[in-house]
């Protein structure tokens, strides 16, 4: 696809999501309560958006991932939350 074709297909959708993220960060700032590892992980992942070159999606996914390599002793429940608590 040409750049113009990508923009025609995806610019408005990406613009919408960008504003949603900005509004989410504002909402989080207005809220009260304890700091949370998910909020920090999100801010860390945002840095990859500004990087040059390909592979931003993979970098964001990696930065939200458990970086360890050994199995855990016991499954702590069943669910996942989207960011690694550390």
């Amino acid at each position: 696809m040409t750049r113009a074709q990508v923009l025609d297909l995806y610019f408005m959708d990406a613009r919408c999501k960008l504003i949603e993220i900005a509004a989410y960060l504002d909402r989080l700032d207005r809220a009260t309560g304890e700091a949370d590892f998910r909020a920090q992980a999100f801010r860390d992942a945002l840095r990859h958006l500004a990087s040059d070159g390909a592979g931003r999606a993979a970098e964001v996914l990696r930065s939200l991932s458990d970086p360890t390599d050994q199995p855990v002793d016991k499954a702590p429940g069943k669910g996942a939350v989207g960011a690694w608590p550390g």
């Binding site: 696809m1 074709q5 297909l9 995806y10 959708d13 390909a54 592979g55 999606a57 993979a58 970098e59 996914l61 990696r62 939200l64 991932s65 458990d66 970086p67 360890t68 390599d69 199995p71 855990v72 002793d73 016991k74 499954a75 702590p76 429940g77 069943k78 669910g79 996942a80 939350v81 989207g82 960011a83 690694w84």
Partner: protein, 270 residues
């Protein structure tokens, strides 16, 4: 358009979904054994589920002219109880000779625990002993990268396993390359929030090519879209893919992988 739904948990769906899928061009649906949303307490509960997958659900799909196949296992979400898993795995061989069984799946990991790994190894051994295809579930979200690496190591450690007879599902941008580089097939799951969106799935095809890749809806009892595969085919068309290139991804690729199992047969005019 014709397509295969290689991963749909149809016992959780309505007959309306069957009707919509067939209307959209679905030529076959494959149903991996899954977690019911609650833990089944006994091996006999699983035996009933395997009977549902191999007897009842193919009949329900047949009412819409849709061939239905299945995969058998105890899901990674229920693998923390190794004793129960051992009992369930012992019941699977009696179902393997049923005419619509494709292999062992979806096995894998959920929270990357030691017990889950043990049960994964037991399933891989079962598949090797009975010469079955394998369908692997990779963990969700933050657990996927680590879980995919652990799964790849388990598969490589068993010399009886041929990589081309294993499909590793739910890949995303950060895991697809490792799966393909080991010689396995890779599945992209199209979900509204987690896993891949249609646009990202087509990106992954643009970057990695179409060899040994398929797409599925993994529709189940949670937020999921039974028509996600044909909708992604529409996305491909919007991006200029030819009808024959789309057909290769949504129909010919699944047929190629699944045809390694002699039970996977489609009506001649599909």
């Amino acid at each position: 358009m014709r397509y295969i739904e290689p991963h749909g948990h149809m016992v959780s769906r309505t007959t309306d979904d069957y009707l919509d899928m067939v209307t959209a061009g679905c030529a076959a649906v494959c149903e991996p054994a899954f977690w019911a949303g609650f833990d089944r307490g006994t091996a006999s509960g699983f035996r009933d589920y395997f009977a549902q997958l191999t007897e009842h659900e193919p009949k329900r799909a047949a009412r819409y002219g849709l061939p239905h196949f299945c995969w058998l296992c105890i899901n990674p979400k229920e693998s923390e109880d190794v004793g129960l898993a051992r009992d369930v795995i012992a019941t699977i061989p009696e179902f393997l000779s049923r005419p619509t069984v494709l292999g062992i799946g979806e096995i894998g990991l959920n929270k990357n625990s030691k017990n889950e790994l043990r049960v994964l190894e037991m399933h891989v051994d079962l598949a090797a002993r009975h010469d079955q295809l394998i369908l692997v579930h990779t963990p969700h979200l933050e657990d996927k990268l680590k879980g995919t690496r652990l799964i790849l190591d388990v598969l490589r450690a068993d010399s009886r396993i041929k990589p081309g007879r294993v499909l590793i599902d739910h890949v995303e941008e950060h895991t697809v390359r490792a799966v393909l580089d080991r010689g396995h097939w890779a599945g992209m799951t199209l979900y509204p929030i987690s896993k891949c969106t249609p646009a990202r799935a087509v990106d992954i095809l643009d970057v990695n090519g179409t060899e040994r890749l398929w797409m599925n809806s993994a529709c189940d009892w949670g937020e999921s879209v039974p028509l996600a595969v044909p909708r992604t085919a529409l996305e491909m068309r919007r991006r200029g893919w030819s009808a024959s290139a789309i057909d290769r991804v949504v129909y010919q690729n699944p047929v190629r992988f699944l045809s390694q199992c002699p039970n996977f047969r489609l009506p001649a005019d599909a």
